[in-house]
């Protein structure tokens, strides 16, 4: 399969779930358009805003006027209903055959999308996952404690679940559309551990997973929506998947 031959048919739908990202959204969209135009892949950006009180949706509408309705698709919801269902809501309206999932808070850099696409085409992977833990991947703005928790949790997960992917809690990924639909349907967890379950289910369903090193820069604007219950949620999900998959 030649890369140029498949490029012409492939379309990439980039899902951006947002909650209070008024500062970040214009910048992430500017960068996506910049890098995707540069690499020449057909794409659309789907913004799923959950009724952010900070005016994220108004910013998104302005961006839609600038870049056009076929490039920026708005799929807002009334209130904050969580990330998992935001993805489901987003793919229902996606016209691409591939879906890219990323955070809108600038911790995921859009320039990596072209690397994901190239990796996907190498072996026709079902899923390509960004990873902070291998190769040139890494993080910025993390102190010792945060690195320790992250590495410790990752070690434990690798030991117990042997997932076949090095970064389970990252959420910067490329999926074949039908694969993502199947995976979402087979996932039971809510919240951020949902990302982990997606990769475990992918292994369980024998999907192939490629990996691309990414750099993760902690958000500059706005706040993280995930609170202190993160670790408890993580441990529960880990044990659940350990006992059931």
């Amino acid at each position: 399969m030649s890369a140029s031959g498949t490029n012409s048919k492939n379309k990439y739908s980039i899902l951006l779930p947002t909650y209070n990202e008024v500062e970040n959204l214009p910048i992430i969209i500017y960068l996506i358009v910049k890098y995707m135009s540069k690499s020449g892949y057909d794409h659309e950006i789907i913004v799923i805003d959950d009724g952010s009180p900070d005016g994220t949706l108004e910013a998104a509408k302005q961006l839609q006027n600038i870049y056009g309705k076929d490039k920026i698709v708005l799929r807002p919801r009334e209130k904050k209903l969580g990330l998992g269902t935001a993805y489901i809501h987003g793919i229902q309206h996606a016209t691409g055959n591939f879906i890219v999932i990323m955070d809108a808070d600038l911790s995921h850099h859009p320039k990596a999308i072209a690397d994901f696409i190239k990796k996907q085409q190498e072996k026709d992977y079902d899923v390509v996952s960004g990873t902070r833990y291998i190769g040139g991947g890494g993080v910025y703005g993390w102190d010792f404690k945060r690195k320790l928790v992250s590495r410790g949790a990752n070690f434990l997960t690798q030991l117990l679940l042997r997932p076949g992917a090095s970064d389970l809690t990252g959420s910067f990924r490329l999926y074949k559309k039908d694969v993502l639909e199947t995976l979402i349907k087979s996932c039971v967890s809510k919240g951020y551990v949902f990302q982990m379950e997606m990769i475990i289910r992918a292994r369980q369903l024998n999907y192939t997973i490629g990996e691309v090193p990414i750099t993760f820069v902690d958000r500059l604007y706005g706040e993280s929506k995930l609170g202190g219950t993160e670790i408890i949620q993580f441990v529960r999900a880990l044990l659940y998947l350990f006992a059931t998959t």
């Binding site: 008024v22 500062e23 214009p26 910048i27 500017y30 960068l31 900070d54 005016g55 108004e58 910013a59 302005q62 961006l63 600038i66 600038l106 850099h109 833990y133 040139g136 991947g137 890494g138 993080v139 910025y140 703005g141 993390w142 010792f144 690195k147 320790l148 992250s150 590495r151 410790g152 070690f155 030991l159 117990l160 679940l161 042997r162 750099t215 993760f216 820069v217 500059l220 998947l241 350990f242 006992a243 059931t244 998959t245």
Partner: protein, 97 residues
């Protein structure tokens, strides 16, 4: 087989071998000569594994890439984005911060 079942079977086999060795003391010379070593081997193994896990995790913490360059580039690109978006007519929200 779930991962839990895999672990249970693996540990079960090891436990069975250990039990067999411990109880074969009377007629097995090797066991007789190394009885204490065998008796405490599960604890020793857990301890060694703990040390292994600790060193691997700490090593990975210290070798976790700090992406200074990525942060610098991002800061520049944020500036670039703001300037170009303003030219395209984008109105940024006044932030009171």
């Amino acid at each position: 087989m779930t991962k839990l079942q895999e672990w249970m079977s693996g540990l079960g086999i090891i436990f069975a071998i250990w039990m067999y060795l411990i109880t074969s003391r009377s007629h097995n010379e090797f066991v007789q000569n190394h009885y204490d070593l065998i008796l405490y081997s599960p604890i020793t193994c857990v301890f060694i594994f703990g040390l292994y896990a600790l060193s691997v995790v700490l090593y990975r913490v210290y070798t976790f890439n700090d992406c200074e360059q990525a942060a610098v580039e991002l800061a520049e690109e944020i500036q670039e984005a703001k300037e170009n978006l303003a030219k395209l007519g984008f109105k940024f929200k006044e932030t009171a911060k």
